[in-house]
Amino acid sequence: MKATLAIAGNTVREALRERLLYNLVIFAVLLSVSSLTISRLTLGEQFRIIADVSTSSTQVFGILISVFVGVALVSREIDRRTAYAMLARPVSRADFVLGKFLGLLATAGLNLAVMALASALVLFLYRGNGSFLGSGFFVAFGLMIAQFAICVALAVLFASFSTPTLAIIFTLAIVGAGFLFTEVRPFWLLSDEAGMKPLVHVLDFLLPGMGLLDAKEALTYGDTVSLGSFATRMAYGCGYAGVIVAIAAVVFSRRDIR
């Protein structure tokens, strides 16, 4: 466990030196701020546009950061051979994978905190009060960490056995498929075609249910979300990420570091 934490800590340190990370975070924050101007273009319900732009930019850039930095920091350990001296110590491959995952997740959490704070400030500037800070706000941003966990886990998995470019493509494809599946699922369930329903139920477990973890609407409409619903979704997201990390550990254990 100590070794895992040491690797995680070093990963956070390395991630915080990534220029890409800062570029994306700054861009996301700028978008949130610019939504104050964009919202002037509309009539009525300006809050909604500010909220949507803030949550969307946080989510999109958070996912991009998780995927790109996740893939980069794992494949770099092998490419630059920095992993050699680490893996030749009494550290199992699973420790290493878990350490990378936790470090990357902590980084994603830091990003999320920064971007959520920026969004809160922008919303506060618009509203002049903190009335938007209901359960909707915390659930919308809170559940993003579960989305990022899935992205990081997939990034670690694919980076542990393929090239960085392919790993990024695979990860984005699966995350995208997760979002897409949430939307097509109801139509497939209504379909008369035989085999469609079983397929949906298989995909329910195979693909990450990104839509289930996406609660941006709760902030937009100020919905009240029950703690139970939040906890269940969080458990699902973290569980999915955990399974992927476990698979990554197995895959990485079998890999020859040449």
């Binding site: 964009i38 949507d52 732009v53 897409l180 839509g211």
Partner: protein
């Protein structure tokens, strides 16, 4: 040499700008002209491909809609032919976008004169955002103002009163029922007003509702008498001299009492019926 080259470049470029800009004037005028959005996707397909960003896309299309309405209004005479498509896209992307139903729905009937499309969008809104009372209210307006379907208008107004917890709308619904002037509407309106009375209301409003109940009952009674007079006239060629004739000839079981507390007065010469308290049945009317 180098300085000369730069000078030539500058001269040629400046000439191109000087000659080209005036030639582009038609394009410049055209660029600011209102035009139909060149291509509008299917909102449902767009939602499938939104990768979780459907709210943001809905906002983008909403902004586009706002601009479209604004430009079309400024340019006058524009038909707003794409408004219903934009409304569908926005509300397919975000079915809970109540404000979009409201604004696009009212402009579809008001500016684009497409009441059917307005009704369709507003009804979709009522399904998806059932707690937004403005949507059934706008539907009531569409029914009343454009379709002259007063019973339908009254029904939507009652719906608006119900979801919006706005008893004023119940009063409005009752007025619409009076315009509709059917037995069914009187019955529905009365039961709805009685229901409103059971909810906690301010004393002023309670009095207003009670007064409205009396008015509806009175109108109902007057209407029954008027219809009997019409039937009498149809058979005998002229109106009865006294109301009792209606009972004798079997057109009315009895002369109703005036629910307003006065009496029902009849003028044999003109055939006009009125209540001694609230006067003749004279619901608001839209000039034909």
């Amino acid at each position: 040499m180098r300085g000369k080259g730069t000078a030539v470049l500058l001269a040629v470029s400046a000439a191109a700008v000087a000659l080209g800009r005036p030639a582009l004037e038609p394009e410049a005028v055209d660029a600011s002209r209102v035009r139909e959005p060149a291509w509008l996707p299917n909102g449902k397909l767009l939602r499938l491909a939104s990768f979780g960003q459907r709210l943001l896309l809905a906002d983008l299309y909403w902004l586009k809609t706002v601009t479209y309405i604004g430009e079309s209004t400024l340019s006058r005479g524009h038909r707003l032919g794409s408004l219903h498509a934009l409304g569908d896209i926005v509300t397919d992307l975000d079915p809970r976008y109540g404000y979009a139903y409201q604004v696009i729905g009212s402009n579809l009937s008001g500016l684009a004169h497409d009441v059917a499309a307005s009704d369709r969008l507003l009804e979709k809104g009522v399904r998806n955002v059932p707690d937004r009372w403005v949507l059934p209210f706008l539907l009531a307006f569409n029914r009343f103002f454009y379709a002259r379907d007063y019973a339908g208008a009254a029904a939507w107004a009652r719906r608006a009163a119900e979801v919006g917890k706005r008893p004023h709308l119940a009063l409005l619904a009752a007025n619409l029922s009076l315009v509709a002037n059917t037995d069914e509407e009187y019955a529905l309106s009365l039961s709805f007003l009685e229901l409103s009375l059971q909810q906690p209301q301010t004393p002023e409003l309670r009095d207003q509702i009670k007064a409205r109940i009396v008015k509806v009952r009175t109108y109902q009674a007057l209407d029954a008498v008027e219809r009997a007079i019409d039937a009498f006239r149809a058979r005998n060629g002229l109106a009865p001299i006294v109301l009792d004739q209606l009972v004798w000839s079997g057109f009315l079981p009895r002369i109703p009492t005036d629910p307003s507390g006065g009496s029902i007065e009849y003028e044999g010469g003109t055939g006009d019926v009125r209540s001694s308290v609230i006067g003749a049945r004279r619901p608001i009317r839209v000039s034909e």
